[in-house]
């Protein structure tokens, strides 16, 4: 159908994940009292960005 859906999914998660991870690095650690002391923004953001990159790679390899 012309557009490989993995490309926009990959882009979106890379963007959101990157944003969360950066925010996790610069934000006040006191914020994470409510998430039981875990910097969920950093960890989960990094995971989402990784997921996004895998999706992007899959979308690319299908095209080639």
């Amino acid at each position: 159908m012309g557009l490989d859906i993995r490309t926009p999914i990959g882009l979106m998660f890379t963007l959101i994940g990157g944003l969360l991870a950066i925010y996790g690095l610069v934000s006040d650690p006191a914020l994470y009292a409510r998430s039981l002391g875990l910097n969920v923004n950093l960890y989960w953001g990094a995971f989402l960005a990784l997921f996004g990159l895998v999706m992007l790679a899959l979308g690319r390899s299908a095209k080639a």
């Binding site: 557009l3 926009p8 999914i9 923004n41």
Partner: protein, 571 residues
């Protein structure tokens, strides 16, 4: 009620999501050349995309919030909706029914009924289905806008208009493909947005063993055996032994057989996703591929509710508790929203709310795309303008998308004033839906079933549902919308038990009357007419080449084996 305050980063995540959803619609616009492109994605999608969309279209916000609420209220027995209900039904539709849906080249479920039976059966199904979809999308729009108003202080009107306009934009631009592509995106967003929530909640509750101990406190406080919230089958021997108030027979027959098969096997909202697949094999694999993540969904949507109630009875370190309603009962519907606000810091909170928004939009888009297809092909082309050009029907598809969303919005506003009307409508829809599976089962597997048999069988099933509802009442309920309006001769231990038995009666009446009336009337369709529509007159599917996991029968068997294992683990 504690309100949640969003930070800039939360809005940024929501904005990124909106931009991508709209961008997908814009990117797909140039591929919408014929009505079949618009309504059926040109029957070109690979199985995994159709499969994830199949799953996501059903995963509306009401499903997410409602399943968590049931998890809190009834515990792990809620998993029967998945492990007894949905999964076997999805395997059945993929392995046994899809050959007729896809093979007949029908463009919708009502159109299949026309080919198999007659015009009146199709008309009845098309009109009731179209009405039902727009109203249910209106009801969920109302529920979401109310939730956001309470939780975030967003204006009710803004929530309704923004969400409606975004869904409208991406469907009119890119048709079903756009809805389906977005459903795939939303699927990942929902899963990836809720996993950390379950993780944090479970950690707070002390892991699975800690959760089980806390749930034992919940169960004994409510006068049940300690395992009533954490064991799915052990307490199903009598309605009094479990919080659902149902016993295994009513549950398996009512929920498993009648309601779940009725929904997953006949509802065009989900079947449409499989019809959009690129081949028969892909169409058959669509529900089977969907079944694999679906069977894990209880951990994503039911578990949070169980965690919420467990922590309410016995506090964790973070002090989470469910809020109360004004009448002093727990507000179970707030389990997921309150957990989002409690555990997620700014940033993740934006992701969690975006996931909630995504589930709402995928549910709404599912309703709207099913509506515009049934309206255009079955009602407009069927009864209003038969022989127009394809370009005209494509135009009508876009117009009916606008119309469908308009009616949904009107229904949402109606619900703010007359909540009872919505309850009443949902009740009527339940009566109309309950017997449907009997009609399809007989239609597909008994060639003697006639058009008159199907139509009057359906009517008698709906009537039986209404009569049963009128004669029974759940415990401690008032006569009226809950039943008993013909004089209550039987009291069920719970509303759920009443629903299951209403469905069983409706199905049985439809099954019996369809057979009787079919035998008494003449079959107007010849065997040649019915080729490809009925099991005995359709050439057997050749055993497909390729690895075992790409063959529907083998894949179906694997799915069933896995779901049996899940049932046993949480017995």
């Amino acid at each position: 009620m504690t309100s949640i305050h969003l930070a800039g980063i939360d809005y940024a995540i929501l904005a990124i999501y909106f931009a991508f959803v709209l961008g997908i619609g814009v990117a797909l616009k140039r591929f919408q050349k014929t009505s079949e492109d618009f309504f059926l994605s040109g029957r070109s999608l690979p199985a995994w995309i159709a499969g994830l969309a199949f799953l996501s279209a059903n995963l509306g916000a009401q499903e997410v919030i409602g399943m968590a609420a049931s998890g809190a209220k009834y515990g792990i027995a809620t998993s029967h909706f998945y492990w007894v209900g949905a999964i076997p039904a999805m395997v059945f539709v993929g392995v046994f029914m899809m050959p007729f849906y896809y093979g007949s080249r029908a463009r919708s479920v009502p159109e299949y009924l026309k080919l198999r039976f007659d015009e009146k059966t199709r008309g009845f199904n098309a009109i009731s289905f179209a009405t039902m979809t727009v109203f249910s999308s209106g009801i969920s729009m109302y529920a979401l806008a109310t939730l956001f108003a309470m939780l975030l202080g967003w204006d009710f009107n803004v929530s309704i208009w923004v969400s409606a306009l975004i869904v409208l934009a991406y469907i009119t631009l890119g048709g079903l493909t756009s809805a389906i592509y977005n459903e795939v995106l939303q699927f990942f967003l929902i899963v990836l947005g809720f996993i950390p929530l379950v993780f944090l909640g479970l950690r707070d509750a002390g892991g699975w063993s800690g959760l089980k101990e806390r749930l034992a406190v919940v169960a004994t406080a409510n006068h049940f055996a300690p395992g009533a919230w954490s064991e799915s089958w052990s307490h199903m021997t009598s309605p009094a032994a479990n919080p659902m108030g149902v016993e295994w027979f009513g549950m398996i027959m009512g929920l498993g057989f009648v309601l779940s098969f009725g929904y997953w096997c006949t509802d065009f909202l989900v079947v449409q996703r499989a019809m959009a697949a690129h081949s028969m094999s892909a169409a058959r694999r669509t529900p089977l591929i969907a079944a694999i993540p679906k069977m894990l969904f209880p951990f994503l949507v039911i578990l949070p509710g169980m965690i919420a109630i467990a922590l309410t009875y016995q506090k964790g370190t973070s002090g989470f508790a469910l809020p109360m309603k004004p009448d002093g009962t727990y507000n179970y519907d707030m389990a997921i929203p309150m957990m989002l606000g409690h555990y997620f810091p700014p940033g993740m909170l934006g992701l969690g709310l975006t996931a909630l928004m995504a589930s709402f939009m995928s549910g709404m888009a599912g309703n709207v795309t099913a509506f515009n297809t049934v309206w255009t092909y079955d009602i407009y082309q069927g009864y209003i303008r038969k022989n127009a050009s394809d370009a005209h029907y494509l135009w009508m598809g876009r117009m009916s998308t606008v119309g469908g969303i308009g009616i949904s919005m009107a229904a949402a506003y109606l619900a703010t004033r007359f909540n009872n009307i919505m309850d009443f409508l949902q009740l009527v829809f339940a009566f109309v839906n309950a017997p449907l599976f009997a009609t399809f089962l007989l239609g597909m597997f008994w060639k003697r079933a006639t058009g008159h048999g199907a139509f009057f069988g359906l009517l008698s099933g709906t009537t039986a549902a209404a009569i049963h509802h009128g004669l029974t009442l759940p415990k401690a309920a008032m006569v009226g919308i809950k039943g008993g309006w013909l004089g209550a001769i039987h009291i069920y231990p719970s509303e759920m038990a009443q629903n299951f038995w209403t469905a069983i009666w409706a199905w049985s009446a439809c099954f019996a009357f369809t057979i009787l009336i079919s035998l008494a009337t003449r079959q107007t369709k010849t065997d040649a007419d019915l080729k490809g529509l009925v099991y005995s007159l359709t050439p057997k599917q050749a055993v497909e080449a390729g690895p075992w996991y790409s063959r529907p029968a083998e894949l179906g068997a694997l799915v069933i084996a896995l779901v049996v294992v899940l049932n046993v683990i949480f017995w």
